[in-house]
């Protein structure tokens, strides 16, 4: 252990800790901007400067190691002046369009300017040329707002192993962008949106579809149907002041009805359907000697990743569409017929924790209903904005429930939102379908949690040992793909989610996200799972009914047509 003094307090920390970590331990706040716990500490922004006795220059607390006997001041006149200087320099090259910015009131630069009491920017002059890239359906970049903190570059390169963006040029001309000034739409970007989650300012955001959805809601000729993914209900509350991990399903449903949506269905219903289809696909591949390991296909960021970087492994992917696309196709066929609504008058809106799903719903093959299966995808953040725009008092809403017949769901479906959830849900059903016996302990804890790659072996009578693996974050996915390529991945089934932590910390979720928040959101979903009457997808009465009334059997002709899809090999560049 190391002893040091910060602002006169004696603090003990472990060897290797930084001054910032030591200060945090003693509840001493040091402002930071480019620093991002678990991802990046590079001392670039010069906002976390502190004074260290015996050191001529001020030092960046996020990278300076604590050592025995160090005497640190975080609140001297010199420190405050230096921090102010750093932030004023950033502001001198910032458009200051706070009032019309997508990150207004949720911006780290704005917050720091306020904290430091900046009342004027003493430096004026030329501003960097910044252009807007809004060509992709998922991500919007506004370079004029970029402060070059490089958090997006680090998360894209080191966590996701994609490197879609990099610092181009030098000095005043530095831009964070793809090679050759390309748009994200034209390169190997997965649209996972993790960059938008870590951007401290409004330089990278989702491409908003709010106006389009308002227009649909205002159109009296349209029946507007909304569905939401499980991860949304575990995080939306944070936008309205609830602590992370608060499940707000009932209030969210009340809110979307007040926004004017005509029907409220649950993507969880389609998650149960995914398990029926994918579980049977697994058993079929195991039984018939098909391509193994089978890999899940719920995460559109992951799909685009494998299409760009491992097209030769596409036969491993399950052909199942992601749950919200399944639901979209069913709403415009099964439900349209049942309710006597012409599908051309329907608008399906998915509220997702995801930016990649905006791209997914625009894929040309996603129109098996004869129409665009899902018309718009809103992120959790966009839904929160709409609720605020409508002046809805979210916290005082009475709980409401989903509409029939596409609203009933099981615990297996709701855990889709956390890494390992799809695997656990699939095992619950595959086990019972394969053995005909009741699974006593439905909780497969080995596939839960935030370890990068999780493995488990499940003995299933009649099949033997079923080997499974779960990866979250595309860097971990890449490791598993390399194992498949060199023949050392002897798994039957792999679950992959593009975002670290799974959908609970998807690119469209409330900001900020860190491992503690990931754990709390996932915990909320596992709690809901335990509270539900049905915890296995095949026990969902509405699922049984839709197979009887409409789909026939899993992997049958109707399922094949509406619920399954195909993939496209794409370039690495």
């Amino acid at each position: 252990m190391i002893n040091l003094t910060i602002n006169g307090h004696n603090i003990q920390v472990e060897e290797g800790a930084t001054i910032l970590e030591a200060a945090l331990k003693a509840d001493i706040h040091i402002p930071t901007l480019c620093y991002l716990p678990e991802v990046q500490a590079i001392g670039a922004c010069r906002v976390c400067l502190v004074e260290i006795e015996g050191n001529r220059n001020l030092q960046a607390a996020c990278v300076f190691p604590a050592s025995e006997g160090l005497v640190v001041h975080t609140n001297s006149e010199r420190v405050r002046a230096a921090r102010k200087f750093s932030v004023e320099m950033l502001l001198s090259n910032h458009p200051m369009e706070c009032l019309t910015c997508a990150r207004n009131l949720n911006c780290e630069l704005q917050k720091i300017a306020e904290e430091l009491g900046i009342r004027e920017v003493r430096f004026t002059g030329e501003k960097s040329e910044g252009h807007i890239d809004d060509f992709s359906p998922s991500i919007r970049r506004d370079q004029s707002k970029c402060i070059l903190c490089r958090r997006c570059v680090t998360v894209c390169q080191e966590i996701q192993s994609v490197s879609a963006i990099f610092a181009q040029g030098r000095g005043f001309e530095t831009r964070i962008e793809p090679a050759f000034d390309a748009s994200l739409n034209d390169i190997a970007c997965t649209f996972c949106g993790q960059c938008s989650l870590v951007c401290p300012v409004g330089a990278i955001t989702e491409k908003e579809d709010i106006d389009e959805v308002w227009a649909a809601l205002a159109d009296p000729t349209k029946i507007v149907i909304v569905q939401d993914a499980p991860a949304v209900r575990a995080a939306l509350g944070e936008e309205f002041g609830y602590p992370p991990g608060t499940l707000v399903t009932g209030k969210m449903l009340a809110a979307v009805r007040r926004l004017g949506f005509d029907r409220v269905f649950d993507t969880n219903f389609a998650a149960d359907l995914t398990i029926m289809e994918e579980g049977n696909e697994l058993l079929k591949r195991v039984g018939e000697g098909g391509v193994l390991p089978l890999i899940t296909s719920c995460s559109p960021g992951w799909i685009k990743f494998i299409e760009h970087f491992y097209p030769e492994l596409l036969p491993h992917l399950s052909t199942c569409k992601s749950p919200h696309q399944m639901l979209g196709a069913l709403v415009k066929t099964y439900y349209a017929e049942k309710a006597g609504i012409n599908p051309k008058d329907m608008v399906v809106v998915s509220v997702m924790p995801c930016t990649a799903k905006k791209f997914e719903c625009n894929r040309p093959e996603m129109n098996d209903s004869g129409y665009k299966d899902v018309d718009y995808v809103l992120t959790t953040r966009e839904l929160a904005k709409m609720i605020r725009q409508a002046g809805i008092d979210f916290r005082n809403l009475e709980d409401e429930t989903y509409d029939d017949p596409l609203g009933e769901y099981t615990g297996a479906a709701t855990i889709f939102g956390a890494t390992g959830g799809v695997m656990e849900a699939a095992l619950r059903t595959a086990y019972e379908v394969a053995t005909g016996k009741t699974l006593e302990n439905v909780e497969f804890t080995a596939v839960r949690g935030l370890e990068g790659i999780k493995e488990a072996i499940v003995p299933v009578e009649g099949i033997g040992e079923v080997k499974v693996a779960v990866a979250h974050g595309l860097g971990n996915a890449r490791k598993l793909m390399e194992k498949i390529k060199d023949g050392t991945a002897n798994y039957h089934f792999i679950e992959i989610m593009a975002c670290p932590g799974g959908c609970v910390s998807g690119g469209g979720q409330p900001i900020p996200v860190n491992n503690e928040i990931r754990r709390l959101r996932a915990k909320a979903l596992y709690q809901e799972d335990r509270s539900l009457k049905y915890r296995k997808s095949h026990e969902n009465p509405s699922i049984k009914r839709i197979y009887e009334e409409f789909l026939g059997t899993p992997l049958g002709e109707q399922s094949h047509h509406l619920l399954h899809t195909k993939y496209t090999a794409r370039s690495r560049f």
Binding site: S163, F166, Q168, R170, A179, F180, R572, F573
Partner: protein, 165 residues
């Protein structure tokens, strides 16, 4: 004059150089840490770094093309545009700077409609800035290929450049 100092690559068909690049990349296969070294060799080969060469380097070393381009655009040494038959280097060292080097640059930029680091459309000239060529007594100075010109007057520029076909 000074034709012998021209870069040889301008005469070669670019497509013929790719197998050569392939050989270089093979020596550094899967080594992202060799990126700058390989880019140096590639630029020596082509005279600049064409997009296809950048893609081959990215693929061979296991680096993203976006990162390769980031490194290329960071270092002034690397160029993504082909160099002209004649290189104009204007000195902006302290002495030349105070004696009007910047005016020389502005004049060339305007006359040839090109940017610093760029090449004219007919590939006749490329323009670069250098910091001190050791001819401070002759400032403002510039180099065209390997010929040094001192006390350059903007009014005489056209006449000098005319000599280089």
């Amino acid at each position: 004059m000074a034709v012998e100092n021209q870069c040889c690559c301008a005469k070669t068909n670019e497509a013929e150089l790719y197998p050569e690049l392939e050989k270089i990349i093979t020596e550094h296969h899967g080594k992202p840490e060799d990126l700058i070294m390989v880019l140096h060799k590639a630029q020596n080969l082509f005279g600049y770094l064409p997009r296809k060469a950048q893609e081959m380097v990215a693929e061979g070393l296991g680096v993203s093309l976006n990162e390769v381009y980031g490194v290329i655009t960071f270092y002034a040494f690397f160029s993504t545009v082909p160099k002209g038959r004649h290189s104009i280097k204007v000195c902006l060292g302290t002495s030349c700077y105070v004696r009007g080097g910047q005016r020389v640059i502005e004049k060339i930029k305007k006359e040839l409609s090109l940017k610093v680091g760029g090449t004219t459309e007919d590939r006749r000239y490329s323009l670069d800035v250098v910091r001190c060529i050791g001819a401070c007594g002759l400032s403002p100075a510039m180099l065209v290929d390997n010929d040094v010109y001192g006390r350059v007057k903007t009014t005489k520029l056209a006449e000098i450049l005319e000599r280089y076909e």
